[in-house]
């Protein structure tokens, strides 16, 4: 960004920016050096993580007798060693998508309620409770999910199977308890709700008063104000909030490990037990794995790393395209 500004902008702004950079004060120079240094350090750390993961992963993949991308098994201790990430990739993406589909609309609703509908006396405690949810450790969600949520979801699963079974996705082929990707998705949705809500709320609160008042003056109802000024203004903020949540959902470990009944099959019947995620698989297999098994797990971790990078990159692209609405420019 910084390097492109001088060429793109008309002559005057560079002059202004040069003035800002060359006030000659020591503090400015030190700060410039510090921020540039931390930026470079961050990139270097990321690169070294990538190199470490890449090296260990390459060691494991070169010995893998199965196909790393398509094998439906994880047995690096076996003879011959076989492991593949297809099931993990599928499970990670599906559970995160379910979580997003549930959490984002609810979070936006709560954020709008807190910022625009609720009386101030209710809004503050409510906002605070939502923030507090984010501080609950994931293992607590896991235990709560396993002991409370799973038994209660049994009924919901039967209902979905009976009325929505025709969609194939909700067709329940195996009788059993609800330790499925769908349950994981619901649990992840609850876990990412606070972060999506609180960021969205901050963004909605930043909508310029003038926009809203102008709309009201034109005779718009409150819902029309929200639709015409608040939502377009907050869109990029909501997208970044969702990506933060998605990042948490992709990497969630303990809650998933506690609630899911993993197995190495890919099934679109999301109510059936089975599947797995990268983080859950690493937590489950790391303890008893030998050196080679750990390298194999690192290889799977690398895929998660790449997946997270892709998601974040995509989010940046979307936000950059809607920059005119971004809260930072207001």
């Amino acid at each position: 960004m910084a390097s492109t500004t001088p060429t793109e902008t008309p002559p005057e702004p560079p002059a202004a920016s040069r003035r800002a950079a060359s006030t000659g004060r020591v503090g400015d120079k030190v700060f410039l050096g510090l921020s540039r240094g931390s930026g470079i350090l961050l990139l270097a750390i990321m690169a070294s993580i990538a190199v470490f993961l890449g090296y260990r992963a390459a060691l494991a993949i070169s010995e893998n007798e199965g196909n790393f991308l398509t094998t439906f098994d994880w047995n690096p201790a076996g003879d011959p060693p076989v492991f593949g990430i297809a099931v993990l990739l599928f499970g990670t993406v599906v559970s995160s998508v379910i979580a997003m589909a549930i959490a984002v609309p609810v979070a936006v609703g709560i954020a709008l309620f807190i910022s625009h509908y609720a009386p101030r006396r209710i809004a503050a405690p409510l906002a605070y409770v939502v923030d507090l949810l984010a501080a609950v450790p994931s293992i607590i969600y896991g235990i709560w999910g396993a002991l409370f949520l799973v038994p209660y979801l049994g009924g919901l699963n039967l209902w979905l199977d009976e009325y929505l079974g025709w969609t194939y996705v909700f067709d329940k082929t195996e009788a059993g308890v609800a330790r499925s990707l769908f349950t994981v998705g619901i649990l992840l949705a609850i876990m990412i709700l606070p972060i999506v809500t609180s960021v969205s709320r901050e963004v909605f609160l930043q909508v310029p008063r003038m926009n809203e008042e102008a709309a009201l003056a034109l005779g718009a109802t409150r819902w029309e104000v929200i639709r015409m000024s608040v939502l377009p203004f907050g869109r990029s903020g909501v997208i970044s909030a969702s990506m933060l949540g998605l990042g948490r959902a992709l990497g969630e470990t303990m809650a998933v490990a506690t609630v899911l009944s993993p197995s190495f099959v890919i099934s679109l019947h999301i109510l059936d037990p089975g599947g797995g995620t990268f983080a859950q698989n690493i937590a489950a297999k790391f303890d008893e794995a030998n050196q080679f098994g750990r390298d194999a797990l690192i290889a799977s971790g690398l895929v998660l790393f790449v997946l997270t990078l892709l998601v974040n990159g995509a989010a940046r692209l979307i936000i950059a395209r809607r920059k005119e609405y971004s809260g930072a420019n207001a």
């Binding site: 503050a124 906002a127 923030d131 396993a146 009944s261 197995s263 303890d287 008893e288 794995a289």
Partner: protein
Amino acid sequence: MKLQRKNGLRATALGALAVSGALVLTACGSDDNTGGTGSAGEKKTAASNIRCGDAGGQLMASGSSAQKNAMDLWVKNYMAACTGVEVNYKSSSSGEGIVAFNQGTVGFAGSDSALKPDEVEESKKVCESGQGINLPMVGGPIAIGYNLPGVDSLVLDAPTVAKIFDTKIKKWNDPAIAKLNPGVKLPDTTIQAFHRSEDSGTTQNLGKYLGKAAPNDWKYEAEKKWPAPGGQAAQGSSGVAAQVKQVPGAIGYFELSYAESQDIPAVSIATGASAPAEATSENASKAIAAAKIKGTGKDLALDLDYTTKAEGAYPLVLVTYEVVCDTGNKPETLDTVKSFLGYTASDEGQKILTDAGYAPIPTEINAKVRETVDGLS
């Protein structure tokens, strides 16, 4: 202004959370303390039999979580008797214990299965002029817990257990189960078979048992990873036990102590003896008594007889080992290792096992363990 007030509120709430958290933690702490002082009273009388010898300093150990509860008791009693010695057993996993042992960072390792040949080869680097050996120290029954309201006792044999966990038998009122349980009213419920979701020595031991006792119905290799395609999984013995407790129609396997602490009924196994064997510490010891030592030299790795028909012998057992060097132990921990393992192998050390849901090692094998411990160098 508004922002500040909100932050203030947040800070107060965090403070409140921290205080209540601290209260909860201290509550746990004081619980432990009362337990500690309670057993310290008994210990004083027993402590006299522990030979501390030249033990001193810190002894690090690591490995199998299956023997964790026994280790906790031993370490507590031992450290109360021998002042100035610190024994630190990190309960992680057999795999991690052996890796630590072969890197020379621990005095001994706990393991659910005997060292493999390549691990013995690797241990020669750590044990100068010697090698790693296995000392059987803790035995225990693996209970098969079930949840069937109205059914108080259930008898299964190895082939039905194999078919249930392989999801070949799907209903509780299957003729194969009914035949073993005459007079018991079995419900028409679907069987929910639970296994461990992470790699586990308990899974491997169940696999070994089924492979030997029901070779026609269990064709899988005995591995730490669950081999069969069907069924459901849960994390850890505690996770499996929690699911069995929660789900009607469920069945799962875990160490006996989990069944006892959660009041989960355990299956009795029909072995071909006159009466089915119940899962108890005593019955597990009877089955371990049928084992033969397969290790050579000072290595005491056991070959368990899973097909034993001895009266009352519960065949689904696991034996965990302590792994040490026969010669070439590190001089700074050698005395402590000998003293500590001497205590765990003593009559007194073995007697504690029964109370903790484990099974003592039979006398004949135990005598050899003591002899070997005395001869460590």
